[in-house]
Structures are given as C-alpha cells and as structure tokens.
C-alpha cells in the first residue's frame, strides 16, 4: 500500500493558540481513515492545511506525493472536499450547482456524470429544485455529489453525517464504504460522532486539542490496555431487583449500576473473571439475555482519552 496523505510534525498556531500540534498522519491508499475528536479539536484546520487553504505554521504535508503549499491546484484537482456545514448557491438548482463545479474543474461533457451522481446520492428527483429549498441533509448529500464531480482519488469529508436523519446516515456510510472498496478512493473522514462512523473506518485517529492521542484500527485501539478492569453490561431477565442481587452475589464484580435500558446492569470486573461471572450467573439461575463489553466500543475509548485530557487539564 502506498501512503496517500502524510504529515510530519504538522503544526498550526494562531497567535498563542496552538490548534494543531505536531500532527503525524499516514493515510494509506484506499482506506477509510477516521479523524475523530470533539468540536474544536483542530480537525477542520488540519483538513484546510491538507488542501492548501491554510498555511501550516510548521511541519510537512504530502498529499498524493504533492505538497499542497506549492502545488495547491494539483492537489485540489484530485481531492474532493465536503466542507463542514456545506453551502450552495441558493437560487441555483442542485444540478446547476454541480455544473458550476464541473466547469471549475475544466470538465466538458458533464451532464451524464452529474445525472449519475445525483442518482447516487438520492437527489434525482430534487435535482432541479433550487438548492435554497433543500433540507440540511439534502445539502449534505449534494455536497457529497459535489465532491465527487471531479472524480477524486481522495475524498475528504468533514462531518458528513451531521444533520442527516438516521436512515440517511446509514446510506451515507454505505456510500462511503462503496467508494473506498469499489472505486479505490481514499477517504479521510472527520467527525465527532464516532458511534456513527466507526463502523466504516479502517483506521481511526483520536484527535483531541490538536493532538492525536491514539491511532490504529478500531480493534487495535480497543485492545490497548485491557489490563485488569473491564466494564461489562449484563442484560438479565426476570425481576430486576432479583437480577441485580444475583449479579452482585456472584462476587467477581464490583460497582453494579443500572444500565441504559431496564433490565441491564453495568459492572466492573477483572478481565479474566468474565467467563466465571457468566457461568456463575447461569448456574445461579439468572436469565442471561446478553453480555456486552463496553470498552470494546470506540466511544468508550474516545471518552476515556477525552476524559484523560480533561483531567490533565485540571491537574496542570
């Protein structure tokens, strides 16, 4: 695999404020890379630097072997970009907006392409409606079509799933996955909604306050420091009070608390104690409906890193 996007010690400061701090990124061709972090972590600034729209304070960037600082036009010819809160020319229809983008890219026969892209993002019927009448989610989808007009080999999507209804999110993710797997497009996906995007990411970087605090496949990240204590959600049938006492009486768990839904209980336990706990519950006559390790969930990891950061902030 070849590296499509590479950055070394990439730094951006605005006055005293460091927005991106010595960022090292390596994104391989054809992968879906998730840049995950809370709002204001520096994701958008990083993207703008990759596109040559913002001048880095320090560090190196390479996109498809090109330096966006010296070769922004070449980079922008090959990189499709969906900005956060994408906007369109309101009086023009969705189709006309795409035509304009096609002309800016120097394309000539673009009508068929635009038709197929509009179909791809499910805007076939609304294509000739003024973009000003589009809902937020429709604009988002038009934005994806817009980013695809140039036939990019890299797609940078900034918060692609915000403002889209749950069904639309699934469609969007399926589309992203398809582009990466079938067309070999490299996708950089920035989002703060990790539970939505983690499913499609081959690798993720958790990005907090301008720094990557963890990087790897979702699985690798989950595997880090499984150490001793894990958090497990047990779903137990029958009388809740009884179920709880059954769980507590197993003796291998601590800190039992009610979970997110009725009948679910969250407890801390030693990772080696999971199997004994479950068998203890079963032999104790508990109706075990489900067992779910919470820290496998990327969100938990993310929250953990995020919380660590916050704590550091408090202690310093």
């Amino acid at each position: 695999m070849t590296t499509t996007i590479r950055s070394r010690k990439l730094t951006k400061t605005y006055g005293e404020h460091t927005v991106v701090d010595r960022l090292d990124l390596d994104i391989e061709a054809g992968e879906v890379f998730g840049l995950l972090g809370p709002n204001g972590a520096g994701k958008t600034t990083t993207i703008l630097m990759l596109l040559g729209l913002v001048e880095p304070t320090k560090g190196k960037i390479e996109v498809l072997g090109l330096d966006p600082r010296w070769n922004p036009i070449e980079v922008k010819r090959k990189v499709g970009y969906l900005p956060d809160a994408v906007g369109f020319y309101d009086p023009m229809s969705g189709r006309e907006n795409l035509r304009f983008t096609a002309r800016l890219n120097g394309l000539e026969d673009y009508e068929d392409l635009i038709d197929s892209l509009l179909g791809l993002v499910g805007l076939g019927e609304a294509a000739d409606q003024a973009a000003g009448e589009y809902s937020r989610g429709m604009k988002q989808r038009l934005g994806v079509a817009d980013a695809l007009v140039k036939g990019p080999s890299v797609l940078i999507l900034d918060e692609p799933t915000t403002a889209i209804d749950p069904e639309g999110v699934v469609e969007m993710l399926v589309l992203i996955e398809r582009l990466a797997k079938e067309e070999g497009v490299t996708v950089l996906l920035a989002s703060h909604l990790l539970h939505q995007v983690q499913a499609v990411c081959d690798r993720v970087a958790i990005f907090v306050r301008g720094k990557v605090v963890a990087q790897g496949t979702p699985h690798e990240l989950a595997a880090v420091d499984h150490g001793k204590n894990i958090r497990v959600e047990f779903r137990l049938g029958g009388d809740p009070a009884k179920a709880r006492s059954q769980l507590e009486s197993v003796g291998t768990v601590s800190g039992v608390a009610a979970g997110r839904v009725p009948g679910s209980w969250v407890a801390d336990l030693d990772s080696s104690a999971l199997a004994p706990t479950v068998s203890g519950l079963v032999s104790g006559g508990a109706d075990v409906i489900g067992v779910h390790r919470l820290d496998e969930d990327l969100e938990t990891i993310y929250r953990r890193y995020f919380e660590t950061e916050e704590e550091e902030e408090v202690t310093t």
Partner: protein, 336 residues
C-alpha cells in the same frame, strides 16, 4: 486543441493535460459566467433596471422638451444631441450626467458588496476555494462579471436616451457625438469599477454583507455631500488664505488639486468636458483668460487632452482599489 498547449518536458499532451489546461484558463471565466447569470436573474438587477429606465425616461423627456423650447433660437448650436445629457429642464432638477454620476457608485456597490461576504454567508467559499482554480480567478471573475453587467446596463441607458432623443428631437447624432458618447461610456464603466472594487474590498474585509455595503455607501455620501467642504478644509491647511489675491488663487488651486483625489469630482469634470465640446478647461479661469476668447468647439482629441490627467488619475484609483481588494482576498485565510 492539444497541439497548441505547451506541455512540460516529461508530460505527453494527454487528455489529462488538456483538462488541466482548460481548468487553468477557464477558471475565472467559469466564475464570471456564473456571476453574470446570477446578476441578470437577480431581483436587484430587475429593480435597478426599472428605476434606471423610469428615471432616465423622465430626465430625457424633460431635457428634450427643454431643448425643443430653445431650438428656434439655437441656430448654429452644434452637438445638440449631446445636450440631451447635459441640459437641465423642468421638472427634473438635474441633467442626465449628474443622474449617472449618482447612479454609477450605486451600481458598483450593488454588484460588489457581497462578492466575497455573500460566499461566506452562504457557506460556499470553502467549497469554491477547494476547486482547482487559483484564488485570483475568483476575484477577477467576479469583478469582470460585475463590470460586464454594468456595461450592459449603461449601454442600454445610452441607447435608450439616444432613441428617445432621435424621436423627440429629430436630430441624429453625428459620428463625433457618437464617439464622444462612446468614450464617455467607457470612462463611466471605469468609474463604476472604482466603486465596485471598493465594495469588493469591503466584502473581503467585513464579516457581513450589510457592513460591506454600508462602508462604500458612506464613502460615496461623504464625498458627494461634504466633498467640497472637506477639500476646502484640507486646502486651507495646505495653503492658508490671508486675504490677498495671490493667496486666494493659490488656495483655489489647492482646492482644485485636492478635489481631484475624489473620484466623484473626477467623474464630474471628465463628463462635463467629454459631453460638451465647448468646455475647454476644468480648472480655474480668470477674467483675463476668457477676455476676448472665441467661443469655439474642441474636437474629441482636444477634449481628451483637457481631461487626460483626470482620466489617468481615475484609472489609477480604480486599479489601486482593485489591487487592494485582490491582495486582501489573497491574504484572507479560511478559518475553521
């Protein structure tokens, strides 16, 4: 097409090279094309055209009526046709060139104030700048588009006036008059360009479109209403008056010089000379100088010679203003 294109040493003139070349050449054109379509379809264009049409019609009917009244004793008056633009007649209180002088800044501001701030507020700027075009093509395309639409409007206005004039006066413009009108039209477009560049500059610097409209409007109002006041004040500092004739003349000359830094003054002076062959100077004229002067007409070249400095200053002001807008836009950083 590919054969014309220069390709770098190791690059074959492939389809890729062609599209790259087209994109590079066509960027500002694509922007301009879209902007022109936007302007022509926009509400403000329709409103402006309406207002322009009505006001022009009123002014020109009044002017042609006035000319007709005096026509019997207007023997030997040449350039009668151009009088349509310079004569004041009831009930319209100003000649057409003054009206155009009022309108031109408004046109420029209208087509410039949201050039960049509009893109910002619609959220289209990051998307536009992420396309493979140079940044200057955005601002150039917008500027060219605005001026094109202005040129269309002003040409329509002049043709409209001419049409009414021909019908009402029965006077057909002479080739000289047509060339004077043409030069004046070009000059007016450059004048509008100054205001459009100023408005564009404000639209880069101001966060909101309303702010970027208010600043050039303010500049225009101040220069138009309080211009002479301000120039007088500056001149009295530069060359104090002590009551003597010499000092008075020096003062008046300073006023003259200082006021020529204002595009409003420049436009008035150049227009009056270009559209009236009998006007021979824009400066101070003493009684001795006009004593026994023969009233005669200047030809276009002579008229141009009279206002050449003013034209040069206005072109320079417009260029500087556009350069400022251009630089501001190039340095304007997209912020997350």
């Amino acid at each position: 097409m590919t054969t014309e294109l220069e390709s770098t040493a190791d690059e074959t003139p492939s389809a890729g090279a062609t599209s790259e070349e087209t994109a590079r050449v066509g960027g500002w054109r694509a922007v301009a094309r879209k902007e022109i379509a936007d302007h022509l379809l926009s509400g403000r264009f329709v409103v402006l055209m309406g207002v322009l049409g009505i006001a022009t019609a009123a002014a020109v009917f009044a002017a042609s009526g006035g000319i007709r009244d005096v026509a019997p004793n207007a023997q030997g008056v040449t350039a009668l046709f151009l009088k349509l633009f310079t004569v004041t007649a009831d009930p319209v209180p100003f000649p057409l060139i003054v009206f155009v002088g009022f309108l031109a800044p408004l046109l420029g501001i209208m087509f410039g104030f949201d050039a960049v701030s509009g893109e910002r507020s619609q959220g289209t700027l990051p998307r536009l700048l992420s396309q493979p075009i140079h940044r200057d093509e955005v601002i150039l395309g917008k500027f060219v588009a605005g001026l094109t639409v202005v040129a269309i409007m002003l040409t329509a206005l002049v043709l409209f006036v001419s049409g009414i004039g021909i019908v009402r006066l029965g006077v057909v413009p002479t080739p000289t008059e047509i060339s004077r009108l043409f030069v004046w039209l070009i000059f007016t477009i450059i004048y509008v360009g100054f205001w459009q560049a100023l408005a564009t500059l404000c639209s880069v610097l101001a966060k909101r479109a309303s702010t970027s409209a208010m600043i050039p409007l303010g500049v225009w109002l101040v220069l138009t209403l309080f211009g002479s006041f301000i120039f007088g004040a500056i001149a009295s500092v530069l060359s104090p008056r002590d009551g003597s004739d010499a000092a008075e003349i020096a003062y008046m000359q300073t006023v003259q010089t200082v006021s020529q830094l204002s595009p409003v003054t420049l436009f008035q002076q150049v227009s009056s000379v270009l559209l009236d062959p009998e006007v021979r100077t824009v400066g101070l004229v003493t009684l001795e100088q006009v004593d026994r002067a023969i009233v005669s007409e200047l030809n276009l070249t002579q008229s141009l010679a009279v206002v050449w400095p003013q034209i040069a200053i206005l072109v320079a002001l417009t260029s500087v203003m556009f350069a400022a807008a251009y630089i501001a836009f190039m340095r304007d950083e997209v912020r997350a």
